[in-house]
């Protein structure tokens, strides 16, 4: 009897083991298929198309399916980690972890090269165009729902660059892809530089204008900041344009600030915001980024009716070197894990804002790889600038600030 009971028990256990093995096998097959589908979607054009809505068919289709959610929202670390937790064993967790890593690498690559619609300019060795009016580039199609704000350090932007029409044309094409470009490193005593540059930018019928700051710096070698903006989509409050006062002389080049607003015909409230344009001193980065934390807070309090402050420029610091600026409550930055200089060795440039106040951020950002987009050699790319432009996208309408709990652990960090 006991023997029969034992045999029966063993038979039931064997059946259970067998069922469990079959279930595990079935889960593995399903998981394999899921991974295959995700991998195909990710490595195909869908994500790229989604990030670059101008890409025919696939981009808009994916966007329609997923609504207004961004790639970062859909494939957030939290969600991806939940999927990894569902894995039946460590081997599968390892495979999914690898997939997550590849996904992030793919996202970074897409951010780095997103530049659909650029025209390759005529470079030395071929027929050099003259300006103004040299460009034959088609007008850039822009979304009615979003604007793109960029920061671009155009190294020693002065007479040498303006003497190279293909360089000017390249810079003009970059500008036309954005609604506002914060420019650093205008280095010339020639006040005609920006009007001449704008003539080239507007040669295709665009209507860009600019505001420029005073020459700043501690020696006779000074720089100017400027904001170039598309007047058909953006307006500036000219009374707000100012070089920040720095009586204790904490910053080598005091930031240029200006308040902008979108021009939109819809029912929503136009998105308005401060831009703070900065180029830090490479020898005093640590102290200057700390001072910029104060600058950011001053601008947040500058107007009771304005909660959006976007600080952008050449910080000479990566995302781990932001000091007190990077520890401000709610602060976030777009450029992370990717280089921004032309040699692709350093991250210098970034765009920062309060993630709760500036909930207009769509989650899309990028670094324009000028070398690959314009098919330049490294030397030619360096003739354009030693930096790449960085950009972030925002909705054209104001959205209500997001609620948040200040006591949450990790609140201060990205």
């Amino acid at each position: 009897m006991r023997l029969m009971e034992r045999q029966g028990r063993e038979a039931r256990m064997t059946r259970r083991r067998s069922t469990s093995t079959r279930r595990k096998g079935a889960r593995s097959v399903v998981l394999s298929r899921v991974i295959w589908i995700v991998w195909t979607v990710v490595t195909g054009s869908s994500i790229a198309g989604w990030i670059i809505p101008g890409m025919p068919l696939v981009g808009p289709l994916i966007q329609q399916v997923l609504g207004n959610k961004t790639v970062n929202e859909i494939l957030s670390d939290e969600r991806v980690n939940k999927v990894i937790d569902l894995a039946p064993d460590e081997a599968w967790q390892g495979k999914l972890g690898f997939l997550k890593k590849k996904l992030r690498e793919h996202q970074a690559a897409v951010h780095a090269t997103s530049g659909a619609g650029y025209q390759v300019p005529t470079v030395p060795g071929a027929q050099v165009p003259t300006y103004p009016g040299a460009t034959s580039a088609a007008r850039v199609a822009k979304s009615a729902q979003t604007i793109r704000i960029a920061s671009y350090n155009i190294e020693v932007f002065g007479t040498t660059k303006m003497g190279k029409p293909w360089v000017v044309e390249t810079l003009a094409q970059v500008v036309r892809h954005f609604d506002i470009v914060a420019i650093q490193e205008i280095r010339t005593q020639d006040d005609q530089l920006m009007p001449t540059f704008l003539a080239v930018v507007n040669a295709d019928g665009s209507r860009y204008d600019y505001v420029i700051g005073p020459r700043v710096g501690r020696t006779i070698s000074t720089e100017q900041y400027a904001f170039v903006y598309d007047t058909q989509r953006i307006e500036v409050d000219r009374s707000s344009v100012a070089s920040m006062s720095d009586p204790a002389d904490m910053l080598h080049r005091e930031p240029l600030v200006a308040r902008f607003r979108t021009r939109s015909s819809g029912a929503g409230l136009p998105f308005s915001f401060w831009l703070v344009n900065i180029h830090t001193d490479p020898d005093e980065v640590a102290s200057e980024v700390d001072v910029l934390a104060g600058v950011f807070q001053v601008m947040q309090a500058a107007r009771a009716d304005e909660d959006d402050v976007i600080l952008l420029g050449d910080l000479n610091a990566n995302e781990h070197q932001l000091g007190l600026l990077g520890q401000l409550p709610g602060i976030t930055w777009v450029v992370s894990g990717i280089t921004t200089n032309t040699r692709k060795t350093k991250t210098y440039d970034n765009i920062l804002f309060n993630r709760f106040a500036t909930s207009e951020f769509t989650g899309r950002w990028g670094v324009v790889d000028v070398q690959s987009v314009f098919r330049l050699t490294m030397d030619q790319a360096l003739e354009v600038s030693d930096h790449f432009p960085v950009w972030a996208e925002f909705h054209v309408y104001e959205s209500a600030p997001m609620q948040h709990t200040a006591q949450l652990p990790g609140y201060f960090f990205q």
């Binding site: 190294e155 007479t159 040498t160 280095r187 006779i220 204790a248 002389d249 490479p282």
Partner: protein, 175 residues
């Protein structure tokens, strides 16, 4: 002769266009530390475009080589503001390696007619971490300067010196 050395020689060419092109190419070459002295001299060029590209190249430079420290000490006393400013900056970037430059930097700190150069000298002395009585006395004097930036940098450099001094004391105690 390397390309960089050729370009450095071209910085002294009689034709402004040759000097400007050389300065621009040095600015783009990425690592022109070996011609740091020539670039600092180019900051005194009469042509704005040469000066601007020389500054751009110097901004990208890391610490200068040891062989350039002595000529940089001489250039730190130059009458031209931009030349002195960049000579002092490079000495500061050299850190403790430029220990022997401390007397020259103290002299700049006390006598330069250019506020930006004096400020940079205060900063550089902090980087060099010289703890000699002459350096500390000079930094103490400018700490109460009416120039807020100069006073702040002097105070920071004195703190750096004290930190270095504490470190050396602990090292000796442990040894």
């Amino acid at each position: 002769m390397s390309d960089v050395t050729v370009l450095a020689r071209q910085l002294q060419d009689k034709q402004a266009s040759v000097r400007a092109q050389a300065a621009e190419r040095l600015g783009r070459c990425g690592d022109a530390a070996c011609v740091a002295v020539e670039l600092v001299r180019a900051c005194g060029d009469e042509e704005e475009v040469v000066r601007e590209w020389a500054v751009a190249a110097l901004e990208e430079l890391g610490p200068p080589p040891a062989s350039s420290l002595e000529p940089l000490c001489s250039l730190a006393a130059a009458a031209q503001e931009l030349v002195a400013y960049w000579a002092v900056t490079l000495l500061g970037r050299a850190g403790p390696e430029a220990f022997a430059a401390a007397p020259a930097l103290v002299s700049v700190l006390e006598t330069s007619p250019h506020p930006a150069v004096r400020q940079r000298a205060a900063w550089a002395l902090g980087r060099i971490r010289d703890q000699s009585a002459a350096t500390i006395a000079a930094l103490e004097r400018v700490k109460s300067s009416g120039d807020p930036r100069l006073a702040r940098l002097a105070a920071e450099s004195l703190d750096n010196d004290r930190t270095a001094s504490d470190f050396h004391s602990r090292t000796h105690a442990c040894g």
